[in-house]
Symmetry: C3
Subunit: 267 residues, 3 copies
């Protein structure tokens, strides 16, 4: 590891080992502990996100009301902030929720949905990044818009170091890194892009994994691995995106540690 201020090269970044085994451990803890995950998310995604969390063993809550969100976040084990449908109410809810989470050391995930389509949303995402989310999860177009860098391992590492946060970049292969380590998860299925809120639900699962884990890179890789493996299992019996959407909930619910480890394609 280079000294502070020294330029880091991609070759210095280590791939963490044992990602599938760590994910298996986190999966068992999700089921045993049932962490509460409070979600500020868009109305399109709320129902599917709640069902994904329930299938994985978490307890979701979703209120956005100004006079009660502090109570919900304070009694939650993790927080998701998703910027989809960014109305004034959600903006205010987000400010309050992030203040409570950071004040109490509750881990939180920022998902800057569609930040590439709206300058106002990009500006708000930057102010939230300065509040240091535990993990920033986004796709290639969103990463490019937010960072101005290429959505690859090198771009991710530089951005993670500059913002001192862990980044989970979903794509054909998912990349999860904090600037020192870089995990890669190659599981998943193209039908995942044909179901609305799949990415949002992945961010919520990531929050659930943060609630039961100690390490943001491990939690990020674990969540995307669980969802990717469940997606592959679901695709084997799906006739299209409709049966796939319910199938991935079934697969997540039935997912066990041996299946996770056997199917993992990580680096």
């Amino acid at each position: 590891m280079p000294a502070e201020g020294e330029e880091m090269r991609i070759s210095d970044i280590a791939a963490p080992t044992g990602v599938p085994q760590q994910a298996a451990g986190l999966l068992e803890r999700l089921r045993a502990q049932g962490p509460r995950v409070h979600c500020i998310t868009n109305a399109v995604a709320q129902n599917f996100t709640a069902n994904v969390l329930l299938a994985a063993g978490c307890v979701p809550s979703m209120t956005l009301a100004a006079d009660e969100i502090a109570d919900f976040v304070a009694s939650a084990d993790a927080l998701l902030v998703n910027l989809g449908t960014l109305d004034p109410e959600r903006r205010q809810a987000t400010e309050t929720a992030v203040a409570v989470a950071t004040g109490r050391g509750i881990p939180w995930v920022l998902d800057p949905v569609f930040v590439d389509r709206s300058p106002g949303r990009a500006a708000f995402a930057h102010t939230l990044l300065a509040r240091r989310p535990s993990v920033l999860r986004l796709n290639h177009a969103e990463f490019a818009a937010l960072s101005g860098s290429e959505p690859d391992g090198e771009g991710l590492a530089a951005f993670a170091r500059a913002h001192r946060c862990t980044v989970a970049l979903s794509g054909k292969a998912d990349l999860i890194g904090d600037g020192l380590r870089l995990a890669q998860v190659e599981n998943g299925h193209p039908l995942m892009a044909r179901v609305t809120a799949m990415g949002c639900a992945g961010s919520a699962m990531l929050a659930g994994c943060l609630a039961v884990g100690d390490d943001a890179v491990e939690a990020g890789a674990a969540a995307l691995l669980m969802l990717g493996v469940a997606g592959e299992v679901a695709a084997e019996n799906a006739a299209g995106p409709g049966s796939f959407a319910s199938g991935i909930l079934d697969a997540l619910y039935a997912l066990d540690a041996p299946t996770l480890v056997a199917r993992a394609r990580c680096a």
Copy 2:
């Protein structure tokens, strides 16, 4: 039945007879009459709730807008007030809707979701209880938070008498009572707790049953029986919560009086 003011004991409370047969009658009336049920409910639950109502034969509407909710409630046959996602808009919509419903004698159900997680929500639930909902439907944690009593038959009966309303308490066995009678429904399946908005949808069905029935205890027991039996049927073919969620809609749609009576486990 004891004289007014006299303490009532649990042994004085009668179990209503014929619950399955009454439920079968209400099911047929739901299909024949297609009652309009206006729902003030959270964004997480809206889609599933509407689909449950449609599967059961009801006609759902869901608007929350201040300048039109009075029209919708006035032309509805029953009203559901669910406190999930309690924002100012829903609070105002609720005030207006309850005023219209009580003024016109339209039955209404109060579902104080997550009242155990938010003091502000508990306070609002108490003001609504004072407006005398036809039925209060809630789970054990919510009942304990609202009543300060044990979530059992005795606690329910005392609370129902004090607030002069019918209470439907869902749990491993559902209890429905008004302080004089206490019905018990043991149907259902654990997967029902793994699908978001299942409880909310049960409250909406309860509103539908109130619209076509005369008795709140009968309507409450009927709605929870219909949903519980549909859940058992759905679970027989479900691979997990995803296929279960669509299966319970199929089962509700196909539910008939003989199946309801044959499968009922009531006391």
Copy 3:
């Protein structure tokens, strides 16, 4: 075609030819071009509408926030305005969105949901009609409330001419006309009325077809034909409205031009 001002008779109105072939062409363009469809729609319908659009090959977006909707509409290929759950936020979002769409020549669809249940909603629908939507899509009760005419071919033609817009009237047989032409689509299945937001999703597909086509009557007939055929395919394997709702997404995703043409029942 009669001279302007002259009364037109229903016998003067031509049935367009080649509707199935045109629909097949539009379906292929949807898949090839992946048009962006921005939807202002109710919270009940958002998730299902997004999934229908994704299954058909479109890219949905759904934000309603005042300070970003202009950016989303400006970068969209078509706009849907659905009046379900008409709160002040959606009203303002609608004003902005329609201004951007008409200013840039982006086609837009107006779906005046439940206009028969709320006078305020009917009044707002009339102000929007004056802004000349590309297509007005609605059901019989909504058409009767808005037009004061019979929901048939003659009533539709008169209304379309008076308002200079194309009308897509869904019912047992769907009618699509602009006052000079009148297409009829007889595909579909009764279970479509048992899934919430099916009509809203049809309006969103119609917006998608407008994005890749040149003619509003063709686009309207194509969208309702695609959804109707997908509904028939889905019904063959559905056990009820739950499996039907996911089945229609599968069927839309798998729909190809030969199936569309072979199953079309148009006039």
